[in-house]
Symmetry: C2
Subunit: 242 residues, 2 copies
């Protein structure tokens, strides 16, 4: 049996949308409760079922639950983040410095997801012309992991303010591999309704309609689609013009 | 109200896993039935709610339903794919040439998802040290779109055998933007139970347990986690050792 016609219902579809809309990049809300191995196993299996170019499955998952190592990772973040804050000016710099950008010391588990570009040899089906495809496959695994975590009521935060080489050296990751995502993972006290950066006024959610083009870059899309998009957005934010 | 404690049930969690495990890269199974605007609106809203570095939302969505343009895109694929097949040798080349790698002429809709790296100015929160983060954010939008489509019982295929510059020129995409994914989208006759490349013997699904490291790259993970992973994998493939 190659085919199966699993058809999802309206209720199941709405469940996925609820998970997507309620997924957050968690920083401040982690609790110290350890992640159960049962849950972690499911998250990893979900990540492993991401699409990958040429079915190369280029990912590895490094689980870090040793407090000493987590503290060293936090130190690398701290140093890099000082450099980062110097790149902003004036009010933006103040705001930047007041943002909570990681939960490295609170989250009980870190998961570093890497990409091994050599996994399937030098010539990979589907990567012959767009060379980043293997990196993108690994990101699909990250997003599967993240959504699965939300469905398990587990928080995930993606921390990217690191010098990659320092992090690889600290964790013993081979030089030929690429770090795609460094995730903090844990139970949470609550999920915020909106992204932190939106709540804190860092940036606004963009108007989706303006991001859609039709057949050619010069053409906007049709009025029917844009009014339907409005309707969908209003369902989520009934109190807002969005 | 910043917080909300939406807690997903076991049934809802299992729905997400079913969607993840039954998502396929569709090539041969598209039907010509047009995608309803109601569905497309929901898919785009789901994509727009992906995580993004510094909340920059760097994506655009170019919808292509003009047959003439779709045919021109297919021609670009065809030329690139001839080059690609020359990169394989012997039996692999034969197998490659017999694989169906796109559904560009059958799928009623193409969606090209791009990344605008300049959207939030030169210094982006979270991109200061890992410069690819904006590309990865866009991939998260792709994966949201793909999973949402599966939940709507809509097929998606990601076609990557193109010279990016040729595709940009054909579609009028500004030079400064990056094409992350070129998707074919449509109703399908059925979803295959396994990935095409697995069914056709191109590559096997890897053993997840061997891809997991613990605290340091030299250390495998613990037996409890690996046996739980086995249990999860067996649920999906009760007839296989996996």
């Amino acid at each position: 049996m190659n085919n199966q016609n699993i058809s999802f219902s309206i209720e199941e579809r709405e469940t996925l949308y609820n998970i997507i809309f309620n997924r957050r990049d968690v920083r401040a809300e982690f609790t110290s409760q350890p992640i159960e191995d049962e849950i972690l196993a499911r998250l990893l299996v979900a990540a492993h079922h991401a699409p990958s170019v040429g079915f190369m499955q280029p990912w590895n998952f490094l689980l870090i639950d040793e407090k000493e190592t987590q503290k060293k990772v936090h130190k690398l973040f701290d140093e890099a983040n000082k450099e980062a804050s110097e790149m902003f000016e004036g009010q933006r710099k103040n705001l930047y410095q007041n943002l909570k950008l990681e939960g490295l010391l609170k989250a009980p588990l870190h998961v570093c997801i890497t990409c091994d570009r050599e996994r399937a040899g030098p010539v990979v089906l589907g990567r012959t012309h767009m060379s980043n495809m293997d990196l993108y496959s690994t990101v699909c695994a990250v997003q599967n992991f993240w959504l699965a975590a939300r469905a398990e009521n587990i928080g995930v935060g993606w921390v990217s303010i690191f010098h990659e080489d320092e992090l690889k050296q600290l964790l013993g990751i081979p030089e030929t591999l690429h770090i795609i995502a460094y995730l903090t993972v844990g139970h949470v006290s609550s999920f915020n309704k909106k992204p932190d950066l939106e709540r804190k006024g860092w940036r606004k959610r963009l108007n989706l309609k303006e991001l859609i083009k039709h057949n050619n870059w010069q053409e906007s899309t049709n009025d029917n689609l844009t009014s339907l998009i409005d309707k969908e957005l209003k369902k989520q934010n009934p109190d807002e013009r969005n």
